[in-house]
Symmetry: C2
Subunit: 349 residues, 2 copies
DNA sequence: GTTAGCACTCGGATTAAGTGAGTGCTAACA
DNA sequence: TGTTAGCACTCACTTAATCCGAGTGCTAAC
């Protein structure tokens, strides 16, 4: 099961080569690199061994070899060199993320875009989960007219709003806002229960002279809204990147993949499946739960506030992706988000 | 220049056929339809005439004919049959648009999606222009912490928010909100000038006891924000639809097109160029200002509130698109938006 | 253990021939 | 005079045959 040092070097050379060219690599190409000082015949023998052991695969008899999923896995776990992201790229990322971004959803959206810019692959990210976000403030805002506006701000700086079909005047808005915040402020959406809303209604009924029907109408809207806010949202960036790679050079395959990426339910499942890993998670080819992804690899990272996970950012690319670069990029982005959020929330009570 | 009745019928038959099959159509195919009772030889003669007149084009000697841009133009202007959208589709659209949508941006987004669902083509739409929207209310909301939230609601139901790096307490928020609304409420963003903000500052300074520096800080943020809000935003739906059509069966072409659709500046220009038309505007092939669109057609429609244009919805598809259906769909959607917005704003003062 | 040499494999490119949809023209017909 | 049948011709596309070369596995010599 163990690989000799030489076999490892050869495997690494093959994978490095294949990642660059997307062509099956032959013994001669490796020999010519002259890093190992071995003839093609020797390499050929070693390659045959590596194939027997399952690390390499031949597309057909007279082609070179390409890495198997197991080969990639070994590469990722043991062989891969650390990738150093250029100072300029880091600077650009910092500037992009820090620059006047003080709303969490905007920050994450930018982070998702930057991930696809850095890696040149398709990225998927989930919007910050409201279920796990702590409510800072929930306002009802009176509009002159037949409706009013609900406004929710979380501690991490996420802002959501919703127009409702209920007219409230300034007094009612202020009183209801106060009642709501006395009960909900500091809770996460997941923690809020039916009885919280009952409590709000009682509070409003007892301490204000707002019409009971109006209270229950408005609080009903709030309750319904909070429920829907818990639902996950996913976004895809740069999905057309897959057209760049020879793996998808036929339109049919490409379209299948794009269709797959369009289906939010799939994406949510993917993101959930990537979630149970520490730091950067990698799924190679058939390791993915979806058949549609059997020719791609998925690299995911969580973003969190403190130790509360808010969502994930993922990169989807061909199995022969530049793992080192992708991992370094996601790592960088997640630490940046972390430090921004820390700074962003520490002023708060 | 005039086309005989028979020539028109033949041209129509050719275009109808070509729209369906995407294959050059030959004289025999038209003859076999048996609508005209003419032999293929006769049709052949007429087709030769139509080619001389510029309505048809031959890809090569021994292929059938395809319509030229001029041919399509004549078809669209004079030949095309009215398309009747199915009752179910209309119902679905109404339900989708009316159902609990009371924010303009959400409504337009849904309309854009529905346009691509109905037509099965790529759609582009501009977000409602804030520059031309009348401000209903601009609120400053106090957050417990180092920042506060700006909230803008337009008469048509567009909601925008922005976190700013300035702490205000409830008193300051209420007073500043009042001052701002006394000056800005009822104006469109385009109408607001520098002196409006000066007026707000004076007002706040004279009638409240808020610190002068804080007033100018906050109002400065508001001014800056309002300026940026004037910028156009465009969105693309279902861009992968282009992969469906044989015109883009090679990945290179498809990618070029997708890249083009990704560039928001292009899209803004496209939408602007489509704008100066009444009702539904159609640009066929080379009629478009962009070389990238020379093999596509663009159908645009404005959506407006009263007589104030807020933005556009456009369909981009192959030149052999089903014009009748696309036009009918956009027409339907724009009238629906119109009636919703009418109903939506008529309650207001 | 390493390597040179060689027969063998097989996908991809190249070429050649065949196919068929379509055209344009001509001559006959109503 | 308009319509049509007939026929030679064109040309993209398909299929088959051939060639080419990168790559392999195996063997024998170093």
């Amino acid at each position: 099961m163990d690989l000799s040092d030489r076999k490892q070097k050869i495997l690494q050379a093959i994978i490095d080569e294949y990642i660059g060219t997307a062509e099956p690599v032959g013994s001669r190409a490796i020999s010519k690199r002259n890093e190992l000082g071995l003839s093609s015949a020797t390499i050929r023998n070693e390659m045959a061994d590596l194939e027997d052991m399952g690390y390499l695969v031949k597309p057909h008899t007279s082609a070179g070899r390409i890495p198997s999923d197991i080969g990639y896995r070994f590469y990722v776990n043991s062989l891969m060199q650390r990738y150093q992201i250029s100072v300029e790229a880091v600077e650009r990322l910092k500037e992009e993320l820090f620059n006047r971004v003080n709303q969490l959803d905007v920050l994450i959206k930018k982070a998702g875009v930057m991930a696809s810019v850095l890696t040149e692959y398709t990225t998927v990210f989930t919007a910050p989960s409201l279920g796990r976000s702590v409510i800072r403030k929930l306002d009802i805002i009176s509009m002159s007219g037949a409706n009013s506006l609900l406004l929710l701000v979380t501690k991490a700086g996420l802002v959501k709003n919703k127009m409702i079909d209920a007219a409230v005047d300034d007094y009612e808005a202020a009183e209801l806002t106060a009642a709501i915040n006395r009960v909900l402020s500091g809770k996460t959406c997941d923690e809020i229960t039916e009885s919280d809303f009952e409590e709000i209604c009682e509070l409003a009924l007892r301490e204000t002279d707002i019409d009971e029907r109006k209270i229950s109408l408005v609080i009903g809207y709030v309750a319904e809204w909070i429920r829907t806010l818990g639902e996950s949202e996913v976004f895809v960036n740069n999905s057309r990147a897959i057209l760049q790679y020879p793996e998808f050079s036929n339109v049919g395959k490409a379209r299948e993949m794009l269709d797959f990426l369009e289906d939010k339910d799939n994406l949510i499942k993917i993101m959930e499946s990537g979630h149970n890993t520490e730091g950067v998670g990698i799924k190679i080819g058939a390791e993915n739960d979806f058949k549609e992804l059997e020719n791609t690899s998925l690299v995911t990272v969580d973003y969190k506030i403190g130790d509360r996970t808010l969502g994930q950012i993922a990169v989807i690319g061909p199995k022969r992706m530049n793992y080192a670069k992708v991992i370094a990029s996601l790592d960088l982005i997640s630490t940046q988000i972390d430090s921004i959020l820390k700074q962003f929330t520490e002023g708060e009570g």
